[in-house]
Structures are given as C-alpha cells and as structure tokens.
Amino acid sequence: MKNNENRDQMIRETFDQCLSGIDELPSLRPDILRKAGTRTPARKPVPFRRYAVPAAMALLLCGGILGTSGLWSTGGREDQIRNSNLYLTQPIETALSMGAEQNPDEVFKMEQKDPAWNLFSWFGQEGYSPLLGRVAGKAAKVSDTMQGEAITAHIDSYYYDGETLILTAAIPEYRTEEYEPSEKERSGMKAEDMDPLDLRLGNLESGLREKWEESIRNQTPMGLVMYGQELESYLRDKDHQVIHKEDGTNPGSCMGSIELPEGTGYRYVSYIRYDEPLPMSVRNVESFDITLRVPATVTQYYFDGEALYSHSMYDYDRFDYISANVVNNHAEKHTYSGQGTLLNQELYANAVVSNASVRLSLSMNPDSGNAIFRFGKDYKGLLIAVQDDRGKTLAYDWIVFNPYDHDPDDNQYSFPVTLTNDIDIVVEEFPPEMKLYIQPIHYTEAEKESMTIQESGNEEVSWDEWGTEEGENIAEEEAYAEEKEDDPPEIEPGTEPFAILTMEK
C-alpha cells in the first residue's frame, strides 16, 4: 500500500471479493414475506425523539461481548433440550449458597432462609451490582419458577416501578454427551486455548468424565457435544412478540452474567437492566406479562490427541420461553423540574428520581441544540450529574450530544437521559430540590492530536507509516483513553459547568 487511496481501494476490493458469495445465496424473501403476512402492523407511532447514548454507556455492564461462529446444524435437538435438565429440584438460592461455599455435599442440607430472598440480593451482596442490592427490597420473586422435578431456565425476580425494569434469571447447567464429529465438522472447528482437563463438562452420564480425562492423559482422540441454553435480552410480550419502542427499535439493555461453580445445577445467573425508557405500552402500567426467549445452544468439542477444538452455535429453531407477570411495585419516586441556561439558551429539565434510576428529560430550543453540537467539536461529550441539596452526587453519566434526530417541525429539541449508574447511594429522603450539573468533558491532548490530524482532510498517516514508533505511542495512548471511555468520568474540579439547574419537586 503506497497511499491512502490504495488502502481505500484495497479495503473496497476486499469486501467486494470476499462477500460476493453472499450474492449467490438463496433469497430469504419468501420467508420474510410469509412471516410478515402473519404479523400485525404497528399503529402509527407518536413522534418520538431518540437521544444519543454513546456505546460506552450501553456497555457499562456489558463489556466483554464475544462472538462465535458456526454453520453446521444438528437435528432433532428439541427433545434433548427439553430433557437436558434432569436434576433433583434445587432452588437457586441453595445453589448459590453452595456455590459460595464450594461444597456440593451441602447442597441438599441447606434450607431456604428467607422467602423474600431473590437474585437481586445476591447480585448486591456479592458486589456485582450495588444497584440491584439497593432495590432488592422492592424486587418481587417470580412465584412459579420451578417446574416439576427439574431445574429449568427461569426468571427469578424483577424490579418494576413503572419507569425502570430489571430482571434476573437463572440458566441450568449444560448437558454433555460423547459425540464423534464428522470430518467436515472437525474441519470447521477452532482451536481452544485451554487445557482440555479444565473444560467444564456440566451434566453427563456416569463414567463419561473419567473417559474424557483418560483420553486426554492417553492422548487419544475423543469428542463431546454440549447442549445448553442461553438467555436473550429481547423483551417480549406474552405472545412472544418483541416489545418495540415507538420508533421500531428495542429498548436498550445491559446484561450482567455470573457463571456459577460446577455442581450447583446452574450454569449462570444473569440480570437484564433496560436502561432506555421503556416502550409506552409497558410504562407506568399496573402489571403486564413478559417473556424472554431462551434459545438452545450446541457446542461440539474434539480432542485430537494433542489439542482441544470446538464449534458452537445457536439453534433458533429450538428454544424455550420463560415468563413472568410483572407488577408495579409503586416504589417511591419523585418528579423534579427546573430551568436554566445552556450556552446562553434556555434549557428545561424534568427528572423522575427513584432509588433505581434518574430519568431525565432535557429540552431546549433547536438552535441551542445545534449550538451545542457545533461546540461539541472541541469536547468529548457532556457529563450529566444529579446532586442532592447537599451536593452529594446521586447519579451521573455522560452522553454524546447528537441533534440528528430532531424533528424539524418541532420547536423543542428534547431528549431523555437515563442515569442508572451502579453507585452505591440510597436516596433515603428525597430532598425538596436537586441540582442538575452539566459539564463538558474534554478530550485528552493525545485524543485531540489524533483528531486534529484526522480532521485536516486527507488522513495524513498513510498505510506505510502505520506501526512507526510515533504511531504506536499514539495508539497506546488512545487505547488507554478508550479503556477509560467506558467509565463515566469524574467531575473535573475547576471546570466551568455548562449549566447548573435547580430542580424542585
């Protein structure tokens, strides 16, 4: 590559050449039209303006998203999935206690200590989410989670106050069988960078674990297949239809999952926090039914005598639904409102504050929205914090301001901001007024340098120059800045805020 033009051409050619096979695939049009024919069109939505949340915010608790690939499929899996959980009944609280103590022998001796116990308490106590711990007392247990004599995937508990919805769920241990993958299947597997003896085998027939370990010790080939289930974050109604927001998208969510120790009967427990404003159909209602889809997963493992290989896939044709009837807990929440100026323009703020979240709605004249956006070339985003009357920060986050979604016919530019950071603060008494603090976040010098170069028109660093010492230093600094990007920055002392609004009840 001699210059950027060549680089651009190379990348375009790469997409053209490598993806051209997709053009020859059979069309999905018949399937799409058939499925569409069974769906009811949505009613025309009311105007709704999206807000700009940086990816970093969405990943606040969702970091480490990994990918998988797979093409092969195994048939007749439904019965296997259905029967994959043949366990003695074991409440999740017992499993968690057992997991904490690492003593499988104790599992059936323990008794449920507190009928009100739920996974919110556990996530809070274990330090995984102060927020969940904070609202655990207002979270409700889903009553009919245990089905028959088997452990099943289930929604354990939920928190819903009309504005905020958080769910917790548990997924049972996977089931493993011996399996001889075909040559074609083996060729599609990827090497696993792990000791085969460390592979978590889950539930398996008597003697299979020993056989697996023996094959590794003797360096003889052996294959396994693992059947499991995974949790989707789509919010669905009782008819299993995804509940969309008014603009047709799904409410953004964050999922946190903790793998439990082997022998607990459960593979992992998760919570899903819907951070974006809920769709109107489920906002501030007394109760509603929800379902989550739990697709089947299949993972093949093959030890070839030297190394471990695997191949994983979803099977969307095989899935369960887990459900809950969600009832509004009417947790205490208060509405505050106020107005001030932002870049010499009027700014109006409305906040619904509870112990679970601060849901802000900011609105301003469209001109000021554009002014902020233009000003935004010199800063990274806006830090938004809500403080009580003593200056204690209750919630904060940062956003990238983006006016693109503004409806030109609307004389107000409004956007919602949800602050649900996991900061361990309880609003014991909601004060008569709160402060809204809006502060610009500045780019670091390294970021600015990178940006200046980029903005100058031609991307000055050619392909040939990449990897130079200077380039590496910049890359390192940017990587560091990038790591920090996921955490809301602290309020910078001495920085002049854009606005401090007093909001009153």
């Binding site: 190379m10 490598c18 049009r29 799409i32 769906r39 995974e230 940017e478």
Partner: protein, 173 residues
C-alpha cells in the same frame, strides 16, 4: 374492510421492494457484524420484519437505506447482547462465508480476516464506509456518534489492521 386489505397489500409491496433492493447488502452487513452466517440470516429476517412493522414510522427524514441500515444495526446489536455472545469463546473466521467466484486472492483474504477480527466498534465504521459506501457524517448519524468520533474510530481501525497484518500485537475484542 376492503381499505384495510388494500393498505396491507401496499405495505407488503413496500416490504417486497425493500427486500429486493437491500437484502444482499444488509445480509453482508449482518454477517460482518455477527461473524456468523446463520445468525446473520436470522438478524436479517428480524430486521425486515421490524421494518415492515414500523413502515409508518419512516418519514423520509433519512434515506430509506439509512433508515433500514439503522434497524439492521440495532438488531445485530441486540443479537450481540445475548448471553451466548458473552460466554462463548471468540472464534473469528471467514470460513463460513459462501465461496466467491473467482475466489479472493490471499492478500484480500488476509485483510478480510483482519477486518473480521476487529472489535465491533471499529469493524462497523469500516464496514459502513467501504461496504455500504457511507461518509463519516452518515455513519455518525447511524451510530449516534459525532463525525469526529467516527474519524477517530476509523483511524484506530486502520492502526489495528496495520498492526494485525504486519504480525504485531494481536488484539481481542
């Protein structure tokens, strides 16, 4: 009743047209996002069904392709939020791509593999610029970023590709 049926037929015609026009482009987008052809096909179907369901919400304030691309990206992001992605060991491969005729040369295959290894936030800007042919402002609009942030990501993506192709420090998402 007749009006309702006619309206529904019109909607189906609109969907049919969208699928005819954009199916392959959007499938490529899904594949590069999800790195799995089966998932990509699922995401594509889900995206068109969402588009069908919310055809009325499209007011022409963005191009039709931009509107649809946004739906596709959101759908892919939802797929990626699932626990399966969080727990599965990352395997990046171009093996599941349908064979191209003629087959790509080695240099292009290597670059494609490097692109597929990029973390999604870099992969998506590269994809939107070079495969979907969007400029930085359009990409910013789609991803709800500032154009400057798009430029920054683009540059970081180039750096990572360069490092990967030259055998320097590998990176994982």
């Amino acid at each position: 009743m007749q009006e309702v049926r006619e309206e529904e037929e019109t909607r189906m015609e609109q969907l049919n047209r969208l699928v005819l026009l954009y199916e392959k482009d959007m499938l490529k987008l899904c594949f590069v996002y999800l790195r799995d052809m089966e998932l990509a096909r699922d995401a594509l179907q889900e995206s068109f069904l969402k588009a069908y369901r919310y055809l009325d919400s499209y007011h022409g304030d963005a191009s039709e392709k931009t509107w649809l691309t946004r739906i596709v990206i959101n759908t892919c992001k939802d797929f990626r939020r699932s626990a399966w992605f969080r727990f599965s060991r990352q395997t990046v491969s171009t093996d599941s791509l349908p064979l191209s005729v003629p087959p790509p040369d080695e240099a292009h295959m290597d670059l494609m593999a490097s692109i597929m290894k990029l973390p999604v936030k870099y992969r998506e800007v590269i994809l939107l610029k070079y495969q979907q042919g969007l400029n930085n402002r359009e990409i910013a609009e789609l991803l709800r970023l500032t154009p400057m942030a798009v430029s920054k990501r683009m540059r970081q993506a180039y750096d990572r590709l360069k490092m990967d192709l030259e055998g320097e420090a590998p990176y994982e998402e």
